[in-house]
Symmetry: C2
Subunit: 393 residues, 2 copies
């Protein structure tokens, strides 16, 4: 199965468009890159976490505006991993023979809600009735627990976390579709205000409106449609407790580790030193600490050594493995339902040498990996793409 | 692929349980009937339309309580057809080889919201920004448009629609898990108050809390697990405009017609006189007019003659095709996310001779069909089950 079309809206505060128009920016581009008409799409999955808008049924609104009704259509949600769930569902639609060509659309229009509402809504995405309601844990609060645990156990510093933000803003500065396409320096990050100690404003991803779409096709159809398919080698996914008091440790996300294991196994790769396989990675940096944990959960670094990768520049182009050349959630933006689809769009374009100069990874190995987390590891997806057709399935 | 486990909660006003406990009533029974442990389930899809509760991420809450985390997990939504979307997604998970055993759980806890909120939320499930906000169209209002169009064109009466309610309450009276397990007569129905003329209280399905779950397994695994698998012969699905002003006519639902065509084609059946294939049907009677249109959209009756089926008793046991022996949405209840799964549970039990006396269909043909609509035909699913393994796929 291959990605044969990919589209991406400008991310940011998008009060200039409604939900359907925003999605269509991505859908239109995905259809154009696939050389397809809406009628050719046989199955549509829309990822949207929802709750921000007056529109409770986003899938039909999005599909209708784009001419994608009269066919199987539904919405999926897995918190901030909703977009990856859409890609995984479109993958299953094609792999099951229910469709030859399927589309996954991710979108979120978060700025329709006033800021306190958004923050409350995201806070509820932890463990609502116990942790949010009783202790007032917000989402930055959750990741702050991870950050303090990680710093305490492994000696990472606030500067180390800011290195993630600096790198991701650096690459976002070359991505015209990023919400914050500008560089920041260490002083800006370190002097930014605390959101939940030790996480500061510049450790945190923003509230974003945006959309992304991919078209997936069976091998037979993909070969007819394009000379440059990007193959899906494997998707791994898992889930974990929403209740942080039940977690074994706060220095990694078990669901992401399980998703990575599943993806590596299905792709026939070893988990150890997995960075060796990939030209580029997009990982879930909702907060800077999350990117550091992602390095370790994906096997790019040993446990407790992830922060050294970014400190040493190993996740820039030219290092061990370039990570978040799109700018990441941190600087490209994080429209919840779109993020997982956006990662697959970005990596497809990376593998095809189609991103802007300065943030294009050298493509030598022909493989790339996406890591997308929902909640604080409530859900996790790991998706492996490649220029060569996968052996086996 | 086969249904190897099935579970169903009591439907009704379920203030006695929280969301996870309600879902677990169905999950526990589904695991028990499948003779499986939570660890055996490899993929979990939770259907929930949501918006009623403070809990914005129901899938992880439901799965965690049932011991179903540490595995692929997500939520799907297709309005009132969300449950069928979960079954279809679980089907794709197994058919694609991503899992050998998958679970679809549907649940809705609607009574957490005060009544005006529920009515507004459901009203928004039409075309929000145009029809709801500008004209105040509520959900009964939408179906009233269909009812008046149908009555005007084909001569059906309010009494004919009440016949649907009388039949469905009759069968619900023998279903202890129904919300309203009691008979009604013509006078009760006809004298009930108008909700949206010509639809009365007894033409309308209620606000319901409930859950249902099924376990699906690949052929190889199903044969090991059980001597009585119920095979999924086909799933058809489609979608249509949310905007009623764009619809060609108001006497049938195009999305349901397309879904039926797809399902019949995939199952190798002819659409004409399709009632001949089935021992029982569960159809989407959110309002009584919807059941009448379903007869026609499924090919049980010619266009304009559906109302005669129920008038003549042809959709009771002993007639052409018994419909909604569970009591239907009308009297069993309609917990949005659960409904589509509940239909598959009911038909599985019908085929296996496992429902209560009096509402058990004679099983002669060994096949049954479910019809589930989201919105007013925004989404539609048709699912065909059988005791014999399907030929072809």
């Amino acid at each position: 199965m291959a990605v044969v079309g990919y589209g991406h809206s400008k991310f940011g505060v998008r009060n200039d468009v409604n939900m359907a128009e925003l999605a269509y920016e991505a859908i239109k581009e995905a259809l154009e890159t696939a050389n397809l008409e809406p009628k050719d799409i046989e199955h549509v999955t829309v990822a949207n976490a929802g709750g921000w808008s007056s529109e409770p049924l986003p899938a039909v609104v999005v599909a209708e505006y784009a001419g994608l009704t009269d066919k199987p259509l539904h919405r999926v949600e897995a918190a901030c991993a909703s977009g990856s769930s859409a890609v995984a569902t479109a993958y299953m639609a094609v792999a099951s023979g229910q469709a030859d060509i399927a589309m996954a659309v991710g979108l979120e229009k978060m700025n329709e809600s006033p800021t306190p509402t958004v923050v409350e809504f995201i806070g509820r995405a932890g463990n609502y009735f116990w942790e949010f309601q009783n202790f007032g844990l917000t989402f930055p609060g959750y990741y702050a627990l991870y950050a303090t645990a990680y710093m305490s156990r492994y000696g990472a510093t606030e500067e180390d976390m800011c290195q993630v933000a600096i790198k991701n803003h650096y690459y976002a500065s070359m991505n015209p579709r990023a919400q914050f396409p500008r560089r920041i320096d260490m002083e800006t990050c370190m002097k930014s205000r605390y959101i939940a100690w030790p996480l500061k404003l510049y450790d945190s991803s923003p509230i974003t409106d945006g959309a992304a779409a991919v078209v997936l096709a069976s091998e037979e159809v993909a070969k007819k449609l394009t000379d440059s398919p990007v193959w899906i080698h494997a998707i791994g996914s898992s889930s974990g407790t929403a209740n942080l008091s039940k977690r074994d440790n706060f220095t990694g996300l078990r669901a992401a580790q399980l998703a990575a294991q599943m993806a590596y196994k299905r792709a026939g790769l070893e988990a150890e030193n997995a960075a060796r396989y990939f030209d580029a990675a997009e990982v879930h940096d909702c907060f800077t600490i999350a990117e550091i944990m992602a390095y370790e959960d994906l096997g790019f670094a040993k446990r407790g050594e992830g922060y050294k990768l970014v400190k040493e520049g190993q996740t820039y182009i030219g290092g061990l493995i370039p990570v978040n050349l799109s700018g990441g959630l941190k600087a490209k933006g994080h429209p919840i339902g779109a993020t997982g689809v956006s990662m697959v769009v970005e990596l497809t374009k990376q593998l095809l040498h189609k991103v802007e100069p300065g943030r294009q990874a050298p493509i030598k190995k022909g493989m790339a990996i996406a890591h997308n987390v929902g909640g604080t590891g409530h859900y996790a997806y790991v998706t492996i793409l490649g220029l060569e057709k996968p052996r086996g399935r």
